[in-house]
Symmetry: C2
Subunit: 511 residues, 2 copies
């Protein structure tokens, strides 16, 4: 009897493997589109991507998977599977149920409407005209609400919006997020106020030095090396390339990051490289024996952000990192950065200043941008606000949360691509990532009390080893709530992150 | 009734389109492997390629295609299809019949044995030891003979080897090739002898100047521009990248070439860029309205070679091209090529000298390398020689055809990857390409008698226009024998190519 069970499990895993391998091939096609593709090829590329996603959908909904799942999940045999096998079966079943329950017509309609909405969003943003964007966004939201209602049934979530959150942060709910974000908001606002009234102010003029792109490329490589993301050796599993918007993509032995070099803003590429390298080392250090298994992926979008933000902010914006890296920076950049001094530089890269644009926000105000978006999405999917009201609600919240007056919708509600791209439920991941990173830091500090001293000497090895052992290696074996408990012994909790910020910014600003 | 026919035809074409789109995606994955992939990813990449080829095979052998073909090819309705529709149906049927008739087990066995044989070939070549290579090659040849016998039945060819030739050069036969190659050999040997005893000799020392790789990259771009292969504009449909072995790959709006830069051999990249650009402009200039249809591909491997060799040799090794390009070359390279003079340079790049290695051979001796390989393959698949005898036969033929003594099998029978890679039937394409290019040149000279004068002024536009109109645009609408007749009004004929060579080399060598 067990033999049949093992044969079935093996069959099921073979199908899961094919799906993962296909997805990893699609990553290459996407990456090539953003980095290497000759411009003329864009129409052909959309045909390729659409075909591959249809093949992927067909593989995900293969009726044989359904039959195998039915047989495998039948008790008592099911109980003989071990923890890892059960998790693999669970993840395959979750994907199968979602993919098969969403009507193909609806999926196709959403894909089509999303393409239209993204296209109109670009034009409306350029024209600073929300009224152009509105009718298409309304259609998209209506379609996504239908999908969310179906997913709510499949996933048995309390609300449609929870079913969307679950795509990125499994089992997380708007109710929990609301609670922690309220606490986070209070803490962030308090720090911002202290910084505003603090005696010490950063001088950011040093960040305006013009650095040639070629030099910035060398700096990027040195940074990758510093955080052990290998892009140069004969055994390298990574690359750094250039795109308009930085991103990470790949699977295990082929994880690539991109950045954008701005001649008059050299720290932009520095922090995007560190951020993406944080994502990359997570993907590269999943348990090797789980390659081609569903558990061999990142835990959630929030956990992915926890790793990118850990490397970007907790490591990359720490004083200790720059104790080590400023001499390297000067060696590469030469005269043009000769006047960089440690403490003024560290304060400059940690300036706290409320602003309009999320992607340009500092570590402290960033969370407020996210909380605003989460609150709006939640209310939108609960029918408490309608698309038409988005600009008004947006501008009012920016005034209230950040004390900022939004002049037009291009720098307001239309600044991000997420809503046009139908990524509802994604925004909370960014701030959840920050919260996780604070808890992870607190746990790491217990095991590695000397990490700051080591970092100042350029020793990132032990920090990485700790992250690999405690975070990366667990892959997708646990849902995020269970993983954070496994790592830290505690539930999701804002305090460690706020403690970290308070400690750091009180030193920087002298409050 | 016709409506049903049109619906079926449309359905069939949709399936053919999917196959072409998938193949174009596979090109990207291959290209990335050779150019961009981090080294660690090689195992993952082989999983991706193997999965994609399995998906491709499944799509090719979709039983629905079989049903649609049966219905569509039923008379009298079939006769209502136009010429283009009939050709598409023919090409789909040909592929379907071949793919479905070859047993999957045999295909898998060949794929596996090929991987082993390539691996052993590399080691045996490094060790200069044919006896290492032999047992694996024997297994591969036996398997390929089985496949060839099945294909012979499907394709109704006279011999198994003809069925292999047909893969690359549809409807071509070993009998026809033997006839034209015998004539070609006689002509080439005569030219070689005349060059050997001629009064003028080339001085090739100019070709040894060291040119920095960065300069060579700029030369490559200028060459691409000169033959209208766009790699730089905002509407570019091409790229030039770097690989160990140059190649072209892509589809319509995304056709990429690669080259290899040798600091101490700058003409190597010059001619590989021109060669690959010849392939690329063929692919880019297939009828745009045939994109995603089976007729929207190159006619045959031989025709592809005719286009690459036309651009590399007939254009790129002509005096007129260098009248135009030497000033450009000097402008890019500066002092280091200041001493290049037109006629000595043109003679140097057209040196005729029998040698051991095919890929380093000149335009005239090259054909003899191919004829040797063809004769051996033909006899191998006719059981007139066995694998064990290959080195002896090889060395004897090199002595007889080229007057060359082969010292070891690495520079002899093991120099090429083709036999280890199971590309039997491919070699003749190279020399057929030369023969076609001679006939095409003769036809072009009638329409464009002033082409050499135009070329000397840097005007390649009319030449390209002629090639597009008379060769490229026909795609795969005709079999090669029909296409050469369509273009030139004549059957396959060696004379124009020999005339071209005689005329060119008598001027260069003064015989």
């Amino acid at each position: 009897m067990m033999e049949t069970m093992q044969t079935r499990y093996k069959k099921l895993m073979e199908k899961a493997k094919n799906l993962l391998v296909l997805q990893s091939a699609e990553y290459i096609i996407h990456w090539d589109m953003e980095t290497m593709m000759p411009p003329k090829a864009i129409k052909l590329r959309s045909q390729q991507l659409s075909l591959l996603s249809r093949i992927e959908h067909r593989m995900s909904t293969d009726p044989e998977i359904g039959t195998l799942l039915q047989e495998i999940t039948r008790r008592p045999q099911y109980d003989k599977l071990d923890e890892i096998e059960k998790r693999n079966v669970y993840l395959i079943k979750k994907n199968y149920d979602e993919q098969t329950r969403l009507p193909e017509d609806l999926v196709a309609e959403i894909a089509k409407q999303r393409a239209i909405t993204v296209d109109v969003w670009k034009k409306a943003k350029a024209a600073k005209d929300f009224s152009m964007f509105r009718p298409e966004l309304e259609k998209l939201v209506e379609l996504e609400k239908k999908a969310a209602e179906i997913l709510m049934e499949v996933k048995e979530t309390a609300t449609p919006y929870d079913a969307l959150i679950d795509i990125y942060e499994p089992k997380m709910t708007a109710k929990t997020i609301t609670k922690v974000f309220d606490e986070l908001r209070e803490g962030l606002v308090s720090i911002i106020k202290k910084c505003e009234t603090a005696p010490k102010k950063p001088d950011t003029s040093i960040l305006k030095h013009k650095i040639p792109i070629d030099i910035q490329r060398q700096i990027a490589k040195a940074l990758a090396e510093a955080v052990e993301y290998d892009v140069t050796s004969k055994e390298a599993g990574g690359r750094i390339d250039e795109t308009e918007h930085p991103f990470t993509n790949g699977y295990y032995d082929d994880v690539r990051i991109t950045t954008h070099y701005h001649e008059d803003n050299f720290t932009s590429s520095i922090f995007s490289v560190l951020h993406e390298a944080g994502h990359a080392i997570y993907e590269q250090n999943l348990s090797p024996e789980w390659m081609y298994q569903p558990i061999g992926t990142g835990c959630s979008s929030g956990f992915h952000e926890s790793q990118s933000r850990f490397v970007e902010n907790i490591i990359g914006r720490s004083r200790e990192f720059w104790v080590y890296f400023i001499p390297k920076l000067k060696k590469i950049a030469g005269n043009v950065l000769a006047d960089v001094e440690l403490d003024p530089f560290v304060h400059a890269i940690n300036q706290v200043k409320p602003s309009k644009i999320r992607v340009e926000a500092d570590e402290v105000t960033y969370g407020l941008h996210i909380i605003i978006r989460f609150n709006i999405e939640r209310d939108l999917f609960a029918d408490k606000i309608i698309v038409k009201e988005l600009p008004e609600v947006w501008n009012q919240k920016y005034k209230e949360y950040l004390g900022i007056k939004i002049e037009n919708d291009s720098e307001g509600v239309m600044q991000d691509t997420h809503w046009a791209s139908c990524l509802y439920g994604y925004f909370p991941s960014y701030a959840l990532g920050n919260i996780y990173s604070g808890q992870i830091l607190a746990a790491m500090e217990k095991d590695l009390p000397g990490w700051r001293k080591q970092l100042a000497k350029g020793n990132f090895k032990n920090i990485k080893k700790w992250l690999v052992k405690n975070v990366h290696t667990h892959g997708n074996l646990y849902d995020p709530a269970d993983l954070i408990k496994k790592i830290t012994g505690k539930e999701l909790n804002v305090k460690p992150y706020l403690n970290y910020l308070n400690d750091k910014y009180s030193k920087l600003y002298g409050f």
